[in-house]
Symmetry: C2
Subunit: 423 residues, 2 copies
């Protein structure tokens, strides 16, 4: 039986200009309360396409959620389709109009006619107030359950789901329990992980599922372990047993759990041990610092960063010896080392990271192909330096370099540096 | 009539762990050769779900493209579904096996059994060689046209589309011509743009469509203008006329065209005028530098960056007067100004950007709420400094700050700074 079907609406989703991040988020929220999403049907901003798919979905599933197509411009069709399908009239909803007026007043702006048109809704719909934007959510009963319409703007959609929609679903539709947990591994490709876990997968209980969620081009794989259970307690025990087995087998390659990110792991490690970090990045151009500083509260342990993109800055700002540029070149072990040690010294941080490499596509030499990167980590007891050879794509090389640097710091900090991959 | 339907496969797409960027890319490629995508059906890694939707799609559309579900791990089902649907046997394809062996040999690695299993394919399928990975593409004739299966890894999928699939589509399926062009606007919200363009939209020829593609939370809207034509020449003239009208009406708020990005625009402007830039970022933590340095060749004009996250660094590294931290605070006009001028002076760059603000969620005071950001741009003739008040979300505040800084630089460089929004 189909429990839930999602219908993202918008030409922009069918043209590559906008990526649909809403559907995955909604599906995950539903999954956790035992409402599996069986399909996502993406349709263009076209009256007949949406109407056809809405009728099909509504016959198949208890819950249908439409996202998007509620914008203030001409090309949005969701409300007229909903009105047609539910035999409603479109009418102005006064509480929504007041909310829109208040929304603009708080921002010192006038309501224009397009904004005001957001208050026009099908009369058979229950209005779900949108506190972060102008387009309201709509809830319309259907033959098997309900059709919900939400704005396509992700943070407005999420707020409406959390405040209005999920509480109703929990009350009326929640089903068989799926418990899940996620492990984050770093540094090991998917197929190697899968082979190493084969002994565990071969004897996996039928109620347990393991899924590999690799990030293309990055050596960062999430393992999602799910257990089905009628009772929460049984499920937790079953899940916990399997997770312990997996963690033991994978050793230090498991970097985090749940929603943890590589950057978040560094945040937790440094914050809890009262240690600090500073960075000197050449080929990554600040990508490492900015990914770490994306974490709220990182100011507690991040002391400063430099992006000495040119050799002269490496010398002036960090004390890298000028001779090295002529003898071994800027992309070399001693330059990375002096950058790491230089930034550590200049900020008084516990750890200093130095990065120099060739992100590409230009800058390669026969001895140093695109993707050659030296990463150095200066710490209180030693400076460790590694050479990596990534691939041809600039953006992916930058991201892989940041991940490799984060993993070096994690392993060094935890005393795992220099051990085997699964130790 | 349905010309093309896409079927992305994977539990990870239904759980929010991975975002489907493939479908939009494919749809856009097909759009440009007159093959509109009418639906995207996303289904889980489940034999019956995929089989059901494949049968439905294959009856409705000439072209069906399945992405994903070809990975080396147990949970991938695409090949067995294709074999069942096409009444094929699964057999080992020797050329594919050789290609996989060569792929691993080139990387100095052994082929493990999971990798080798990628060479097993349905015998009614034509194999499309994958030169960047192990899972081959498959092409199977259907009652109305064809079913194509591609790996889910984006760069492998794209390479297969470009090398193998699109040339065949162009030959056998290409349809009525849609010409399109995109304009990138900065600094104006979607509804304001739409109102300002109303006089043009009201008299738009029926063969022309305008779509608004805003990025949630960012004041960066793409306008996609499309024209339908039987002959390329007629379409180009029609499209060109409308684009000129729109550009004239929107004035300096149009920052770029086609695939141009805000960062790419800065790259072009600075490179062509032989001018240079350096950055000093506090609350954005290197995000501005790293977004600019994501552009290949940026080393020609980016002289260096600093991330003086702490007040002491702002003083030591950039010469910001220590008094200011006590009198007006770190998030203030004079501090931003001294950061911009300091980095410009220390690198000898044409332009220096200084950024200081409260990205959130912490760090706010009653006078300086979360989202308060000062951006300063030092240039040869003057230093301009602006205060922005963004919203509550840290990541979005960082991204909006970077965009605002880029737009200040663009406007100053082009002599647009200080004029009206549409001048």
């Amino acid at each position: 039986m189909n429990r839930a079907i999602l219908i993202p609406v918008g030409d922009e989703l069918l043209s590559g200009n906008v990526v649909d991040t809403n559907s995955g988020w909604i599906a995950h929220q539903l999954d956790l309360i035992g409402i599996p999403v069986s399909r996502i049907y993406t349709v263009p901003d076209d009256f007949n396409s949406l109407l056809e798919i809405l009728k099909e979905a509504e016959e198949k599933a208890e819950i249908v959620i439409i996202t998007g197509g509620l914008g203030p411009t001409k090309d949005d069709v969701t409300k007229s389709v909903l009105a047609h399908w539910s035999h409603s009239q479109l009418k102005e909803d006064l509480p929504t109009l007041s909310r829109i007026q208040a929304y603009f007043k708080a921002r010192g702006k006038e309501v224009n006619e397009l904004n005001a048109a957001q208050a026009i809704v099908p009369d058979k719909a229950e209005v779900l107030p949108n506190h972060l934007g102008t387009a309201p959510g709509l809830w319309i009963p259907s033959s098997r359950g309900c059709v919900v319409s939400l704005p396509g703007v992700p943070f407005e959609m999420k707020d409406l789901m959390i405040q209005e929609v999920l509480p109703r679903f929990r009350k009326n539709y929640a089903g068989a329990l799926w418990l899940e947990h996620t492990l984050l591994t770093l540094g090991i490709p998917e197929s190697e992980l899968a082979l190493h876990l084969k002994p565990i997968e071969d004897v996996l209980p039928p109620e347990v599922k393991i899924a590999y969620l690799p990030q293309p081009g990055l050596v960062k794989v999430k393992l999602r372990i799910q257990a089905e259970a009628n009772q929460k307690e049984t499920g937790i025990i079953l899940l916990h047993q399997q997770i312990e087995k997996i963690k033991q087998r994978l050793g230090g390659s498991v970097a985090g759990e749940g929603d943890e990110t590589p950057e978040g792991i560094i945040h937790t490690l440094l914050l809890s041990s009262n240690q600090t970090l500073a960075t000197a990045e050449s080929c990554t151009g600040g990508a490492l610092a900015s990914s770490l500083l994306g974490i709220p509260g990182a100011s507690a342990w991040f002391l400063g960063g430099m992006i000495p993109y040119q050799n002269r800055r490496k010398n002036e700002w960090l004390g890298v010896e000028n001779d090295l540029f002529h003898t071994v070149g800027a992309v070399s072990e001693p330059v990375a080392k002096q950058m790491a040690e230089g930034i550590r010294q200049r900020t008084g941080s516990t750890y200093g990271i130095g990065i120099t490499g060739i992100a590409g596509p230009g800058g390669a030499t026969p001895e140093k192909p695109v993707g050659t990167v030296w990463i150095s980590l200066a710490s209180p007891d030693e400076t460790i330096t590694e050479c990596y050879l990534f691939e041809r794509d600039r953006q992916r090389n930058i991201r892989r370099t940041c991940l490799a640097a984060i993993d070096m710091l994690r392993k060094k900090h935890l005393g795992l540096w220099g051990r085997g991959r699964f130790d």
